[in-house]
Symmetry: C2
């Protein structure tokens, strides 16, 4: 059974880190006889430069046909002045919406080997293991109407729409409840139901679902309080479920609690478990091309891909074990460097994982 | 010149902490001959219970006439099932919008005496002093249309509108630039201009204003990155300006970095410098009536009131010095208690500040 993987290097450090992840996946492919077939395509700024659009038809075609996608990152200052509709980010958002990748899983895990990298006290974050489930194809990211209009007074007004339907909420809720069932059986739904009507509906649907998952303990928290609690006592959380915008903010905050955002993978899935996998960090244009970026988040995204879209749990675990081994060996890219580590380049880190497989 | 202060104790711990702040303000009134005149009124759940509405006309009348307002907090579980329009929060939101208190100033300051209370490493937060300027009467909190509608498919959709006009952005921008001028001359404007059109306009207007304040260094940051940077390296910030919803989230996150949210005051001002002053923390229904809440954030809100609305800088400093003194004495309410502190009740803390004046 041959499966096709689409590689989308994108912008900034994207090509460097995706190259390392591809090396690792090719080796795993041989070792486990997975019959993976690799293709690649343009997205984001790289696609704009070649084809004048952030999501060329060819890329979307290939993405639809692929069993899974591995993305580096998109965006950079050279495209920041472009109109919204033709920015690199639209490539990413277009993939998410066209493939209906509504379920974004973002783990925030503290690697024991990197505990000292966190800006939080060790006792507050040691053993941290949170899963954030973010809705990814609805909410204010995609709500209509949107734009900038001229009012009668002559001044301009910018506006966006934050909207969710019952079924959109229900399907992301189910993913979150199921994730909680596989983990610590605690789910915290984050909203702003004391102010925003759309999140009153969100809370109501989450409450409805509670009956279907009696083994999961559901709680609700306002987003401002969640932002505080993540700093105060992050280990109180197991799975967090929230909308697109709040999820964007809280998942980045949670990732940073670990101090090693260069380590964190993510998965974006649709209802057929087709998925796009990418590191939680961005395109880091300031260090692009220097060969110093950390490829581990992308390599670990490859592991998530094997697990969630390809059903190859053993192969996923092999990658994760190899990553753990290189950390034990003290190998560190610049972003996770510490006094007792040995500093390596992007390529050296990829090679070390390869060797550890 | 007699000035009138409206006290709005509100719900939960509100009455306990406002009582202590009132004691302090009355003493300052005598000491400095300020001719302050105190009134009080109902708001939030307390008003619902008495009058069936969270913002009675009498309260709004008194608020309009007052030179400044001191609010405790609103909200609690007993009112959580009420429809949105008649919840305690509407009392607070109604005051903000009716008095056009568009400029919300939320300092996040680490008190050296309480440095160990933070969940962050001392080197990351020592000396922390950020001012968050949050727009308070626009954005998605007040945007129209909003509600829950039935779609043709028969399912319901919740929706809210995130909107800002140029002039709304400009007036909060000016407050922020001016705050930066008084402080470290650095302003970071937080938006999501890579996704939301309304914040593209936000960014454009902030850029416009830059020319009027050449001594202030303006930067822009996406909200997800800001949530990360606050955890990673909060001391990079001086003044942050952002919209209502992002400000709600980021100001709570920033407050929690200090570990002592029970210490942080806030001011909400209109263009006549009339203001409402309140602690950053909420109504804490779980500890209401126990006499253990920390009154210092409310007492310090009183100091902000003297400074911003009444122009009594010396009196404000006297309160701040008294608070600093009781902290030096080792007095601690439960929320900021540490091994070497002496635990005191709400009232004892208020009395200690009084004695230190
Ligand atoms: C690049 C941007 C559009 C994107 C988002 O906001 O979703 C990113 O921040 C993310 O979280 O994947
Ligand atoms: C109580 C609530 C409506 C309020 C808000 O969201 O503005 C509170 O969280 C605050 O920050 O003052």
């Amino acid at each position: 059974m041959s499966r096709s993987i689409l590689m989308l290097p994108g912008d900034g450090i994207g090509p460097e880190i995706v190259a390392e992840a591809e090396k690792v996946l090719r080796k795993i492919n041989e070792q486990f006889g997975l019959e993976l077939h690799f293709e690649s395509a343009l997205v984001g700024g790289a696609a704009i430069d070649e084809t004048d659009t952030p999501l060329p038809d060819d890329t979307l075609d290939k993405a639809r046909k692929a069993d899974a996608i591995l993305l580096g990152a998109v965006g950079g200052p050279q495209w920041d002045k472009r109109p919204m509709a033709s920015r690199p980010e639209k490539g990413l958002l277009g993939l998410r919406s066209n493939l209906e990748l509504f379920a974004n899983l973002r783990p925030a895990i503290l690697y024991p080997q990197l505990a000292s990298a966190s800006s939080l006290k060790p006792e507050v974050v040691s053993g941290l293991d949170i899963m954030i489930v973010r809705e990814l194809t609805g909410g204010i990211y995609f709500g209509q109407p949107r734009g900038v209009r001229e009012l009668e007074s002559g001044e301009r007004q910018g506006y966006n729409t934050y909207a969710y339907t019952e079924s959109e909420i229900r399907r992301i809720g189910r993913v979150a409840f199921e994730a909680a069932q596989q983990r610590g059986k605690k789910l915290c739904s984050v909203d702003k139901a004391n102010v925003l009507e759309v999140t009153v509906l969100w809370r109501e649907i989450m409450e409805d679902l509670r009956r279907e998952y009696p083994d999961v303990e559901l709680s609700h928290m306002y987003v401002d309080n969640a932002a505080m609690q993540l700093v105060r006592a992050p280990k109180q959380f197991d799975v967090i479920v929230t909308g697109n915008m709040f999820g964007d903010i809280l998942s980045d905050e949670a990732a940073m609690l670990t101090g090693s955002i260069g380590m964190l993978p993510s998965a974006s899935l649709n209802s057929e478990k087709q998925g796009m996998y990418e590191p939680c960090h961005g395109s880091a244009p300031d260090i692009a091309g220097k060969g110093i970026a950390n490829p581990l988040a992308t390599i670990l995204s490859g592991a998530m891909m094997l697990r969630y879209s390809l059903g190859e749990e053993k192969a996923a675990e092999a990658i994760e074990a190899a990553v753990s081994k290189v950390l034990d060996q003290g190998l560190r890219t610049a972003d996770i460097m510490s006094a007792d580590g040995r500093k390596v380049s992007t390529r050296e880190m990829g090679d070390a994982v390869l060797a550890a497989l």
